[in-house]
């Protein structure tokens, strides 16, 4: 598959994810092994009612989606992937009212696993809200007992 065709498919797939749509995520940039997705501020995603800060879970969803898009867009990774592991570190609360932007990079792909790292920030781009690292399946979705993320 040529690169342009693959980028088109990844874009199409990412934009069609129902839960990402529910969180109003927008695919800003898609490269070869990296992606940028934004999520607007929305009162429905608030986790702390006294401050109006977005729930960590919504940030996790943004980072997982961006990580998956980065993995799929990598030239050595297949179009089908599933998250094996995701670790998120929260540096600070996101500023209420501001959108959150996540940039993810797939930095290594083996025959079976893709590794990614991501950073999320609000309007203050030099001061991250959260960072994430994750491992994704990269075996093309072949069902096997050794592939926990594969369809059963």
């Amino acid at each position: 598959m040529d690169r342009k065709k693959k980028a088109q498919l990844v874009r199409h797939f990412t934009e069609a994810i129902p839960y990402s749509k529910a969180l109003s995520m927008y695919l800003e940039e898609l490269g070869e092994g990296d992606a940028v997705i934004s999520m607007p501020y929305d009162a429905r995603f608030v986790g702390d009612p006294t401050t109006g800060v977005i729930h960590g879970g919504a940030v996790s969803a943004l980072m997982d989606t961006t990580g998956g898009a980065a993995v799929m867009s990598h030239p050595d990774a297949p179009l089908v992937t599933a998250t094996l592991d995701l670790r998120i570190d929260y540096m600070r609360a996101a500023t209420p009212g501001q959108r959150i932007v996540c940039r993810a990079e797939c930095y290594h792909v083996t025959r079976s696993v893709a590794f990614m790292r991501a950073v999320a920030h609000d309007d203050d781009a030099d001061n991250p809200i959260a960072t994430a690292t994750g491992a994704f399946t990269a075996d093309g979705g072949k069902p096997s007992v050794a592939t926990p993320g594969a369809p059963t």
């Binding site: 009612p49 960590g56 919504a58 943004l62 599933a82 998250t83």
Partner: protein, 167 residues
């Protein structure tokens, strides 16, 4: 010896505390999560809806939904444990158990999700266990399953910053 309170009074206070704790968080309502209670044991329930999908081809629940569900379960478990003594002693009366009178919730420091199998288009359940809870920090492990309690589809461990307490 003091005569025990009637069971319905105790239950009413516990249920009021739990719903106030859960209802104050908009994102919990957005996901449609609710909690079942048996004594002090909580089980989070995530009813399946099509908006929770992450991969329409399988279909499978979004990894971010699973992460959110596990994080919500952990935070509510911690908030519940923080309030339990006040609920049981009657220090907090029914009138003090409204969403606006809830104590500050713990803040997530880090959260690591282990995806064991894909989340099916079915209801999901989760229970959290507080492994360590100190004055400042807490460590929580949480497990989620769907049809079979012994077949987990995800688990997670997280560290939390506890709210500053009076006194």
């Amino acid at each position: 010896m003091k005569r025990p309170e009637p069971v319905q009074v105790v239950k009413e206070r516990r249920d009021a505390a739990l719903s106030a704790l859960v209802e104050q968080v908009p994102y919990i309502g957005f996901l449609g999560i609710h909690f079942d209670r048996r004594g002090d044991e909580l089980t989070a329930v995530l009813p399946y809806t099509e908006t929770l999908i992450g991969n329409p081809a399988l279909p499978a629940i979004h990894g971010g939904v699973t992460a959110s569900f596990l994080e919500v379960t952990s935070i509510i478990e911690l908030g519940w444990a923080l309030m339990w003594e006040e609920i049981e002693s009657g220090e907090r009366t029914i009138e003090d158990l409204t969403p606006s009178s809830m104590p500050r919730l713990p803040k997530t420091i880090d959260f690591t999700v282990d995806y064991l199998r894909s989340g099916l288009p079915r209801d999901a359940y989760a229970r959290a266990r507080i492994n360590r809870s100190g004055r400042r920090y807490a460590s929580v492990h949480v497990e989620a399953w769907q049809d079979n309690r012994s077949r987990l589809f995800a688990q997670a461990t997280g560290h939390f910053l506890m709210p500053a307490r009076d006194g």
